[in-house]
């Protein structure tokens, strides 16, 4: 165990890896600060940068971009009261009132500290539980994998809130898009329409950039001009009082544990973690009326929860190979581009990648802290910069990014299609995250289903009657039934104070 952790730090501590970790955190925060763009857009836009790097370095860069994007989103949420991601929406509830009272600096500082604490707890959970979960994963058969993936998809639809039918439509549409290309078993081309480019399947980055990049930019063009930041945020204003520090300790501890636990479950982990942490704080508080009016606990708890969840979300992604959220599925896609198949064997076959990545998670979180406190003035400047000079550049970068993935003009054309569709879907209340998740899981889901059915001799009852597989499938069925009766969604809707953007989970 300690050997492995040391190996990890030795891998992550090389000058090159530290440099890319820093670059990742910096660029990720930069893109995350821009209105409408979150960590998912940041990862997809900067993915091509990682192609020319060693797999470990590339992953360290991407993980840095991921945290940076998450934190950048929080900065924009607190200062503009415009959450870029659903999990940041919770931070807004008390973060923005704090900013209005002239305590924006303290809110941002607490966000940074809480993120760091949550992230560290998540990293420790990942170190502690990752390898043992991978060992369990080794004994899984195709039917178990199928059931787990199905559970992940069902969770993404039912837990995220919004219409069940629309969520299911997006998942099924994503799965269907995943079937485009060469069928692994028979070698037959499906839905390629004679295009050579489609034989390897639809480009994940083209879909993600269309659905998240283009669609988000289009919807923020008109709104972004109206927002103004008046609060001056200086480093001095970030220093919290002693009373503040005392107040945030317990909420951070509670938030981190809630987040760490929920993040490892499939589905919209970070969002649920942030909501539950916030709800818990209200429940334990002596004076419940302070919440929503700038209570510092209301910033500390959800921020530490969603960062802990963001870390533990890597547990299923790395050790079983099943991503729990859209962002994780992009990370999974990135791993596969670098020739690494996540799964139970990753821990034993590629220890430098697994442990190096975990160590760099922690270093990335540390960078985030040391980078963002002195640089806060810079990020505020980025936010104050007129949006009209930013979005054309973002569009250009999306184009060149997608093109350079496979030096393919065809993929840029796909961005037009998915961007157009994505904006219309977003306007009519469809969340794009289930589609991405379905798209990434689709081929694996099909392969495992086919193998499982072959082993069960075509009898679905044999699959259902297996105790493990059957209970996971039963859980999925329960979640659907529960959400039809409005259980989870009712709970979320009652907590939902402001409109939460459909999208990244």
């Amino acid at each position: 165990m300690w050997d492995n952790i040391l190996l990890g730090f030795a891998t992550a501590m090389t000058v090159e890896n530290l440099m890319y970790c820093f670059i990742g955190v910096f660029l990720g925060t930069f893109i995350g600060v821009l209105p409408g763009l979150g960590s998912l857009a940041a990862i997809s836009m900067l993915l091509p940068m990682s192609f020319y790097l060693e797999p470990t370095t590339a992953l360290i860069l991407l993980a840095g971009i991921y945290y940076g994007g998450e934190y950048g989103g929080s900065i924009a949420s607190i200062l503009l009261n415009l959450p870029g991601t659903p999990s940041a929406a919770v931070t807004c509830l008390d973060g923005n009132p704090m900013a209005k009272q002239g305590r924006a600096g303290v809110a941002l500082f607490v966000t940074a500290i809480a993120s760091f604490v949550g992230g560290s707890v998540g990293v420790i959970a990942l170190m502690g539980f990752g390898p043992s979960i991978a060992r369990v994963g080794l004994s899984f058969g195709p039917a178990d994998y199928f059931a787990l993936m199905l559970l992940g998809l069902v969770a993404a639809v039912t837990v995220g809130g919004g219409s069940l039918v629309k969520g299911l439509i997006m998942v099924v549409f994503g799965l269907l898009l995943g079937t485009v290309g060469t069928d692994v078993t028979s070698g037959e081309f499906r839905y390629t329409f004679g295009f050579l480019e489609l034989r390897d399947g639809v480009s994940l980055v083209a879909i993600a950039m269309g659905l998240f990049g283009i669609a988000e930019v289009v919807s923020s063009v008109r709104e972004a001009g109206k927002r103004k930041i008046t609060e001056a945020v200086t480093m001095r204003s970030m220093i919290p009082t002693r009373a503040d520090m005392r107040r945030i300790l317990a909420p951070m501890a509670r938030g981190s544990s809630i987040g760490g636990f929920l993040g490892a479950l499939p589905g919209a982990g970070t969002v649920i973690a942030a909501f539950l942490a916030y709800a818990t704080e209200i429940r334990v508080a002596k004076d419940k009326t302070r919440f929503g009016k700038g209570a510092i606990e209301g910033v500390a708890a959800p921020e530490s929860a969603n960062n802990a969840a963001a870390q533990t979300a890597f547990i299923p992604t790395l050790t079983i190979g099943i991503p729990g959220s859209a962002t994780m599925s992009i990370m999974l896609g990135a791993l596969m581009i670098h020739g690494i198949t996540p799964g139970p064997l990753l821990v034993s076959d590629h220890p430098t990648i697994f442990w190096g990545l975990i160590a760099s998670f922690w270093i990335g979180n540390l960078f985030l802290l040391v980078l963002n406190i002195p640089l806060i003035g810079l990020w505020v400047k980025v936010l104050q910069f007129p949006y009209k000079y930013i979005y054309p550049v973002v569009i250009a970068l999306i184009c060149i990014g997608v093109f350079s993935m496979r030096t393919s003009v065809f993929d840029v054309g796909l961005v037009v299609i998915f961007g157009g569709l994505g904006y219309l879907l977003q306007r009519t209340g469809y969340a794009a995250a289930p589609l991405i998740l379905g798209f990434v899981l689709g081929p694996m889901l099909e392969e495992n289903l086919r193998r499982a059915m072959l082993m069960a001799r075509g009898d679905p009852m044999r699959i259902v009657s297996d105790p493990l597989t059957g209970s996971i499938l039963g859980l999925s069925a329960l979640m659907i039934i529960w959400s039809v009766y409005g259980g989870v969604r009712g709970l979320i809707r009652s907590r939902q104070v402001k409109g939460i953007p459909p999208g990244e989970a």
Binding site: M49, V165, C399, T407, V415
Partner: protein
């Protein structure tokens, strides 16, 4: 109010994608539950997509609601990306940057040509430095068909 709202149209698009995919999937070998052919999974999925989307169409028709769409930035940005694709194919990266940024600025009235020009020059220089110099990617800066 009209039944044909944006919500109805979008559900309709999804239903037609599902139906088309189903018809195509019938052309692939279906196989059996034990030995699924390449057509099994797509046929089930596209059938499911069509059913779900049709039910969404019915819901949308029963409860029509107006949804606003910002057509100007929507069309401008899509045209810009399409323009990038065509120009990149024909003339290379630098002209493609001029096209994509030029068309994107049409999202707003009175963007200003000077600002657009400065943006383009800065962005294409930056991209050239990052992609060609720093990352060593090979892509044509200028091209002629």
């Amino acid at each position: 109010m009209n039944i044909v709202t944006l919500r109805f149209v979008v559900a309709g698009i999804l239903a037609s994608i599902g139906a088309a995919a189903f018809i195509i999937a019938l052309g692939y070998e279906f196989g059996s539950a034990r030995r699924m052919g390449p057509g099994y999974f797509p046929a089930v999925l596209s059938g499911l997509l069509t059913l779900l989307a049709v039910s969404e169409m019915i819901t949308a028709a029963l409860k029509p609601e107006a949804i606003s769409v910002d057509w100007q930035p929507f069309l401008a940005i899509l045209a810009a990306v399409a323009g990038f694709a065509v120009t990149m194919y024909l003339f290379g990266m630098i002209p493609a940057f001029f096209v994509v940024i030029g068309i994107t600025t049409l999202s707003e009235n009175r963007f200003g040509w000077g600002a657009a020009l400065i943006l383009t020059v800065v962005t294409s220089t930056g991209a050239w430095l990052l992609f060609s110099r720093f990352l060593g990617m090979t892509m044509p800066l200028f091209d002629w068909p």
